[in-house]
């Protein structure tokens, strides 16, 4: 194949951005075009601001469940039958919330004036991921990205970290709302009422914060550190949900319940934390956010996202240094990325994930919204259901996870379906040169020219080796 070096404009649009829209002006100065996007990012686009709140739906369902269970106390046989319609309605509502949020996410990705910053939203949302493995999480997923990630994508890492760990979605996903200090007043009271009943710790959130959100695995923390951190986190919960919540409480808001907090100072990674109450875990989090291990963990993931599956060590070192120097100021990190040479290598460095590929395909067709296309279903079909990586580690960011036989066939099938209605409107020969400015390979251009129909040509462009990578 006649490989052609990628132009700076093609790299800015496709590797840093979310894919070129042929109708937009081509960036003349690629680096400046990226840096100026910091101004243009919209934290709460209209489509997201109007999404329905998740908490009330979850809270209402749980209250109905409780009421029915109490009512059925005398006749337990009838419980299942009365719960079923309520559960079905609940599943339907949460699915709708999820689908609407996915559509809003796609809408924003297709129309944003700041595609690079929007890409960073997707990056951080995956770094701090939840997984919509149950209806609660499906309901909260959109709010998680909108309220915990987007406001901080141009802010500080530590602020995003705090917002994420206090968001109801994360508190539910990693079982924090069920974790009670074993010697807390709430636990002692429960045992008095019901001798032998033990309420206690759930260390899931504490462990994943250290392993995945901040320090990174094998960075020197021990099981004892995880357990101590989990003790410090007890009491962190949701205002209107979970054990001991106020019936009037807000199910979309964080709360600290002192009665559930494990009393006493904690020792995590050699530091003693003798703060009282909520501040104890906050202090640990802020120290974790400042750790050189966190700087290097985040730098490696950023480097991998822009400069290749095996990120160049020099770039990673530069990013880690900037993370420490700037106190985790994210725009400073982005600036280092944009001004470093490594992410500008003129050959494709990344195989697009299904999300990246779908969004870039729609942008390449100048679509200003998902229209009738249900992105939630499309992404499931392509193997990357939105906000559902199935594990707190998030989706993997290497080609080995996405470039696979069946996945490739699926993209060809989907491209064919996507392109079919646009044969009379979109000329692949024209847009090919617009989405890959001065960079489209001659082989692809030739096969596109020779295709039997305009729709077939468009589908071929979307699955060409040039377009599958960035």
């Amino acid at each position: 194949m006649t490989a052609r070096p990628l132009s700076a404009a093609a790299i800015a649009l496709n590797r840093f951005g979310l894919g070129a829209c042929p109708g937009d002006d081509q960036p003349m100065e690629a680096r400046r075009w990226l840096l100026e996007q910091f101004r243009d990012f919209e934290i709460r686009p209209a489509g997201m601001a109007t999404l329905a709140d998740a908490g009330i739906v979850v809270q209402r369902y749980r209250a109905q469940q409780r009421a029915l269970k109490q009512a059925a106390g005398a006749a337990p046989g009838t419980l299942e039958a009365s719960l079923k319609p309520i559960r079905e309605a609940y599943m339907q509502t949460t699915r709708a919330l999820y689908r609407d949020a996915v559509q809003a996410r796609a809408q924003s990705a297709l129309t944003t004036a700041a595609p690079f910053v929007e890409r960073m939203v997707h990056f951080w949302s995956n770094h701090f991921c939840i997984s919509t493995d149950n209806p609660e999480l499906a309901a909260y997923a959109g709010s998680f990205e909108r309220d915990a990630i987007r406001p901080h994508v141009l802010g500080r890492f530590s602020d995003m970290l705090l917002a994420v760990e206090q968001h109801p979605a994360m508190l539910i996903y990693l079982n924090q709302i069920a974790s009670i200090g074993p010697d807390s007043p709430a636990a002692l009271k429960a045992e008095q009422r019901e001798p032998g009943r033990r309420l206690g710790l759930n260390e899931n959130l504490g462990r994943e914060i250290m392993e995945l959100h901040t320090l990174g695995v094998r960075s020197g923390y021990s099981q004892a550190d995880v357990t101590e951190f989990a003790r410090a986190l007890t009491g962190w919960t949701i205002d209107g949900l979970g054990r001991g919540h106020d019936r009037e409480g807000d199910p979309d808001a964080f709360a600290f319940r002192p009665m559930q907090h494990e009393p006493g100072p904690r020792r995590v990674m050699g530091h003693t934390y003798d703060q009282a109450g909520e501040d104890q875990a906050t202090a640990v989090l802020l120290d974790l956010a400042r750790s050189p291990a966190t700087a290097s963990h985040v730098a490696t993931k950023l480097g991998r996202h822009f400069a290749g599956d095996t990120p160049p060590p020099r770039l990673v070192a530069r990013l880690a240094q900037e993370f420490e120097r700037s106190g985790g100021d994210l725009p400073s990190l982005y600036r280092v990325l944009i001004l470093s040479p490594e992410p500008w290598a003129a050959t494709p460095l990344k195989f697009k994930t299904p999300w990246e590929w779908t969004i870039s395909a729609l942008r390449g067709m100048d679509q200003t919204g998902p229209g009738q296309l249900q992105l939630a279903g499309v992404q499931s079909a392509l193997g990357q259901p939105v906000w559902k990586p199935g594990s707190p580690a998030g989706w993997d960011d290497t080609a080995a996870s996405w470039a696979a036989p069946d996945a490739l066939l699926r993209r060809v099938e989907f491209a064919s379906r996507l392109a079919a209605p646009f044969g009379d409107r979109i000329d692949a020969r024209v847009i090919g040169a617009r989405v890959m400015p001065a960079s489209l390979s001659e082989a692809t251009a030739e096969q596109v020219r020779r295709s039997e129909s305009p729709a077939s040509a468009l589908a071929l462009l979307l699955v060409s080796p040039d377009f599958l990578r960035r």
Partner: protein, 382 residues
Amino acid sequence: MLVRRNFLSCAALGAGALWVNPQMALASVGTDRRFVFIIQRGAADGLDIVRPCGDPAYSALRGSLADGASKPIRLDGLFALHPAMVELGRMYAQRQALFVHAVASPYRDRSHFDGQNVLETGGSRPYQLKDGWLNRLASLLPRIRDEAIAVADTVPMALRGKTPVSSYAPSSLPQPSDDLMTRVATLYDADPQLHPLWDAALNASSLAGHVSAKQDPASLGRLSASFLVQENGPRIAMIETGGWDTHNAQAPRLAAQLKALDTMLAALQDGLGAVWSRTTVLIATEFGRTAAINGTGGTDHGTGAVAILAGGAVRGGRVIADWPGLAAGQLYEQRDLRPTTGLDALIAGVAGESLGIDPGKVARALFAAAPPGRPMTGLIVA
């Protein structure tokens, strides 16, 4: 959902999602024996699956997990099987299933992702090796076909490596036009990364033909079987299951998980027919869970776990365990089941015996990074 795609509809949520993304991948190699590896991602609780009811410390540690409504299935004087695994219990009674308890890979920390990497690569530490032990196992057999096939849309780590392995998942999307397929092939032919993937995808879809396209456990079992029974089909298969990370509400969640696994095993046996007698299924997880129940009716990440062998080729009807005990002083780091058997020694032994290769040779090829000592033997009916 990697086996059945519901195009343009929301992925399953709710109860069914406990059984997260079962995936399957297969490799074709020259033998008439079949070897299936089922990975349980998320650290399945061995102490709840094969319960050491006869251990004096058991009931106090396990609390409500030890006294569920249904009675576990008695295996021997010490152990009983989780009551959800009725079919596996039947296989055990027919001497076609066995359990290896207090087993662990060389990995001793408690990260799922590192633990799975060690389990799948066969390294002694995470990310030490770039290919999987199942792929290296396939390389030990004479290849009689040009390409391997697969049933999943990506290839799991254990099967990644030099030996060609593909992946397949039925699709409800319409078939693209011949013109598009031909031009795609022309472009991909010149691309060193895409060329082998595309060839493998086309081979797999031509072999798949009529198979069932549903993603429930029974369909997945039958789908796996339908590949394994074909004359020119694969001999090695891998199925991925998720949803085993039961930090809370373990009693109902694990029961649902195990019922799904049990159903899949039964469907696999059913679909394999006469081939079942030449089949070994190995089920393993990255590590076990804490010996004690936690504050939320679940268990946290632990160490020693249980591995399961099932199949007509298995010398079953027994629990193999150098039982370390659950008393306070006997636990690993005062919290987990102490591992006394190396999972790698089990894998080397069972893979070698199942496929008729010297287990010592298998051990050297699969686990060169951390030789597991003597492979376990006597696991398979000669």
